[in-house]
Symmetry: C2
Subunit: 203 residues, 2 copies
């Protein structure tokens, strides 16, 4: 009794991903129970197992959805010809924008890598590497055409990604600075870090 009739499987599936993400972000994967997720979605715990084999696979689905979105959006962002500097600036602004507008996804993606078992870890880590390679390629191009001055594109790429992603540790919307201003500051710092300087950064 009290069983839902006419429920839409797709709607439930999306709700499970959405609420899992939100709960994982707030409390951490390990502390969130299937019951909590089911409550938020408005179904019984057992219903989740219709969509995911177990809790681990649910986490993999959440992270995989995020990584696919990130890779797709970043591919669209890098279309068209441009100089190395333009490519780097475009990458930096894209990364900040994408991350700043999806705090939960980003937070969970970074925090819960450790909660992944071998198979899921390999999948997600592979996609992370793919994303890192986009930046690394931009840096390598800038080094070979003499635009950037840096010793090691791989290390610089990792350093830049840490810096950019770190914006999520302190940024809260509605704060002192506009999103545009934050983008400007970070972009300028990134260009400086690779040995290039924006003409009129400092007003």
């Amino acid at each position: 009794m009290a069983r839902k009739t006419g429920a839409d499987g797709r709607v439930t599936a999306e709700a499970i991903l959405r609420e899992s993400l939100s709960l994982f972000a707030q409390y951490g994967f390990a502390t969130v129970s299937m019951r909590q997720i089911a409550d938020k979605v408005g179904v019984q715990p057992g219903a989740i197992y219709q969509h995911h084999r177990n809790k681990q696979q649910l986490l993999v689905a959440v992270l995989d959805t995020h990584m696919d979105g990130l890779l797709k959006a970043s591919a669209e962002n890098q279309q068209g010809d441009c100089t190395s500097v333009q490519a780097l600036e475009r990458f930096a602004r894209f990364h900040i924008q994408y991350h700043i507008t999806r705090p939960d996804e980003v937070f969970v993606s970074y925090m819960e890598l450790r909660s992944l078992e071998e198979e899921g870890y390999a999948l997600i880590e592979g996609k992370r590497r793919k994303y890192e390679r986009i930046l690394k390629s931009i840096l390598e191009r800038g080094v070979s055409d003499g635009t950037f001055q840096l010793d090691d594109p791989h290390v610089s790429a990792m350093a830049i990604l840490s810096m950019l992603t770190g914006v999520n540790t302190w940024y809260r919307s509605g704060g002192r600075l506009s999103q545009q201003k934050i983008e400007d500051i970070y972009t300028s710092m990134v260009l400086g870090a690779v040995g290039h300087r924006l003409p009129d950064t400092h007003s």
Copy 2:
């Protein structure tokens, strides 16, 4: 029977902190059980409650020990007169060294902030802020004496800290690059990011 006699409380206390840190780093606070910790230490679960009121207070103790060590070491590092550039370079090298040699402490300190309840969070966050202020002060000094070019010392400080701390996400000892080389790369990037350039960075 089989009860330990002549056990040293101080030794046990230290072992609890050490093994907790190690387990929290490996599996995450939420997944580690008091039993696991007790097993590693070589005592019974109940014995841990002689030293910590509950699991939450144990985490606070672990993080607090780390923060105190960091603040003490960084205070010692910043002694003596120096220019803004020297201070920034010294800070960057210190931060990298300290973090690279304590991967577990750093990892847990960043990952488990979320696991802290209100009171413990306030304590640890206060000490984090204190550490951040050291860098922010260096940047402010560099701006006012014209050495650095940046719009917002607070944001720049956060960005630099993210970048420097991020070294722990990829660095593994015995890798391709020496610790010294990594310090050099990061220091050079930090100086570039604040609008200053090292004379002979690029060899």
